[in-house]
């Protein structure tokens, strides 16, 4: 089990954005996190990434209870990486962007170079290695951001709507990348999306958030197309072309 979270709440002012009695996330699986805008998906991802603390609740990560104090969280952040909906790259080269996390982990230069090349290969961006990161297109930025996250070899990859701001070609490429890294590296992936195609083609499990409350498929993937249609929250199913 990667995560076991109980009695989780997140309150901003007097508004409760998350209220989840129990959520379990299995190691090595892909989870789709669904829900309408404002349902609390990004907040939940931020909590899973230990980027913000819950208001109340107990989080157990890999069988260890998590304390939300900075010295305790920083080692956890070294194994859980989040890629935002609109990722931002540091204003330097693509190489330096990928090198950042590796330098923090004190990985020797030779090894760093190999990892960077390998990670860029994985997302098909090797030829951009020395390109200025701020000159990349939206799709290229998204792919480099994924490569930057993969370079640090995380146990968990959290992706906030990874394909929402890219064209169809890049959407397919990103889905393939996520599937590939889960298959090869057994990285646990949690991604948010509104796209039914992504859910059915990529996710092993589905979590559905609505007004901060969670529904799950109990691990058997029953919570798929029909259920979504019942909720009326997803668009029409897309073909796999």
């Amino acid at each position: 089990m990667a995560y076991e979270i109980s009695q989780l709440t997140k309150v901003y002012g007097n508004r409760t954005v998350l209220d989840i009695p129990l959520i379990k996330i299995e190691k090595g699986s892909i989870y789709a996190l669904l829900g309408p805008n404002g349902a609390g998906k990004t907040t939940l991802l931020n909590i899973l990434g230990f980027l913000e603390p819950p208001t109340t609740g107990n989080i157990i990560y890999q069988l260890h209870p998590v304390q939300f104090s900075e010295p305790y969280l920083q080692p956890l952040r070294k194994v859980i990486v989040m890629v935002e909906q609109h990722p931002i790259l540091f204003t330097t080269t693509v190489y330096k962007n990928l090198e950042f996390g590796l330098k923090i982990r004190r990985i020797p230069k030779k090894e760093r170079d190999l990892i960077i090349e390998e990670s860029l290969d994985l997302v098909g961006m090797r030829h951009f290695i020395q390109a200025p990161a701020h000159r990349l297109s939206g799709g290229e930025t998204q792919r480099v951001a994924i490569a930057r996250a993969l370079a640090v070899n995380p146990q968990v990859l959290l992706c906030d709507e990874p394909t929402s701001s890219v064209d169809a070609e890049n959407q397919v490429a990103i889905i393939n990348i996520l599937r590939q890294i889960n298959g090869i590296k057994k990285i646990t992936i949690v991604f948010t999306t509104h796209d039914r195609f992504q859910v059915t083609s990529l996710a092993h499990h589905i979590l559905f958030l609505d007004h901060g409350k969670l529904s799950t498929d109990n691990g058997d993937n029953l919570f798929t197309a029909n259920k979504f249609s019942e909720h009326g929250l997803l668009g029409p199913t897309r073909s796999h072309s």
Partner: protein, 231 residues
Amino acid sequence: MDFFVDSLYSALLLVASLDPEMVAIVTVSLKVSGTSTLLASLMGVPFGFLVAFESFPGKRMLITCLNTLLALPTVAIGLFVYAFISRRGIFGPLDLLYTQKAIVIGQTLLILPIVATFTIAAISKIDERYRKTAMTLGANRWQTALVVFREARFGIVAAIIAAFGRVIAEVGISMMLGGNARGFTRTITTAMALEYDKGQFTLAVALGIILIGLSFGINLLFHFFQGRTRV
């Protein structure tokens, strides 16, 4: 009109001939203003960065106070520092009055709020996602701060250049605390004021040309770095 043209012509000749007195005055100005800019940067940049980066009670009030200090007149600072370093002041025994050090102290106080507030503005403009990205990649607090600092680097350099532009052109502090001693504390602006008083315009105009040239160069640099922040 002839008077102006003659003065301008003589001044240009003076600049071209690198007149030793003129060079000495420019050297003093650059040395004093450079030192005060360096000191103000060493204090103001980390201070501004901390204020912008950290959250603490009274932060908004502190920023308001710093913004108020931007409008301090040079003569007020001159008077304030004079009270401390004159013979009757608590730092009187250090014999600082009418020295280059006195000008440096006054000018540093003048531009410290400029460096700090411009640094705060530069850091505050940095997208919050940089901090979040650094954190999620495993950076500790210090490494995250460095990322934010690095992203704000052009804005911070622009703050330092703006501060230098302010001190190189100020006259009140240099006059009150430096005393305009020839070859010692005479800066471009105090020399210009003196030459004007004497009715000898050639050196004043020559120094004016140099000052305008310096200001132009500083502004070019400022706009270059400001432009880089928008890349």
